[in-house]
Point group: C2
Chain length 181, copies 2
Amino acid sequence: MRSPPATRNGGDNRSPSAQPRFHSTVAEHKLRRFNSLILLFRLASFSFSLTSSIFMLTNTRGSDSPHWYHYDTFRFVLAANAIVAVYSLFELGASVWEISRGATLFPEVLQVWFDFGHDQMFAYLLLSASAAGTSMARTLKEMDTCTANNNAFCVQSDIAIVLGYAAFLFLGNDVVLAIPA
Amino acid sequence: MRSPPATRNGGDNRSPSAQPRFHSTVAEHKLRRFNSLILLFRLASFSFSLTSSIFMLTNTRGSDSPHWYHYDTFRFVLAANAIVAVYSLFELGASVWEISRGATLFPEVLQVWFDFGHDQMFAYLLLSASAAGTSMARTLKEMDTCTANNNAFCVQSDIAIVLGYAAFLFLGNDVVLAIPA
């Protein structure tokens, strides 16, 4: 579904007489709006995954309180969000480049498959980390780890996991927008 | 990426003189191979998700042993696998129909988007259930629930989760094969 209008990278010139200047302008407008939407989604998934990483990373208090790095699952949540933040930052740069220069960073076919493949892979990674994190957070509550003393630890973990889900939602939307057509 | 050869549902008749019978036969062969591959993947995801459901559902022993329905996460694993088994069975039928009748069950555009959307959604569902299940299984081992008495329970849960991952792999491949083009 990437680049739905016909006038990308020079435009459709099979029948120039049948395509007046008016059509081409409309298509360009659509392309610009489409690219802005992708940019917005990249920005959202970057912000959410970065914030999630920071929330998980700083989720450590006094020495008698639990730490995030004691739990494999929470380490997985942090790693997945950090990886997605780095990837989203790269794609954000690629998106800004595309809008400012009017051409993709890599050759277009390669770029479309690169985006689709990586979006899909990282969406799976982030979702599995968030789902595993949710299961862990529920277990901690059932095991009475989240007593009054450690309640802040549990709440902060929950926030990090929810932010991870938010990042996944925007990344998942990018998968659909980036379908190779 | 669905239906890569041009001769689906009657074929490409823009320039009949330029497309000799030989080409059309090659395209038909490719289409048949492609549809058989999809059928194989549907069969695999159906078998794995059904077996996983059965393994989880029968994971209950004497009254002093843990039961799968005591754990929310394991109920989620069972539900996700059962849903995917039902969906895969439906898609298996649709695939057999398409191969035997030479046309899709729904109008082709609708069918392609139906397949892609549902494959994607159920792949996310199954992966999140499997990831949550993995986290739960690890926690049970750390909590010493998997003692000698209950070892069979833990092993059977592990098998159900691994089978869920296998079903996800084949469903995930269907997502790529069903990309609307």
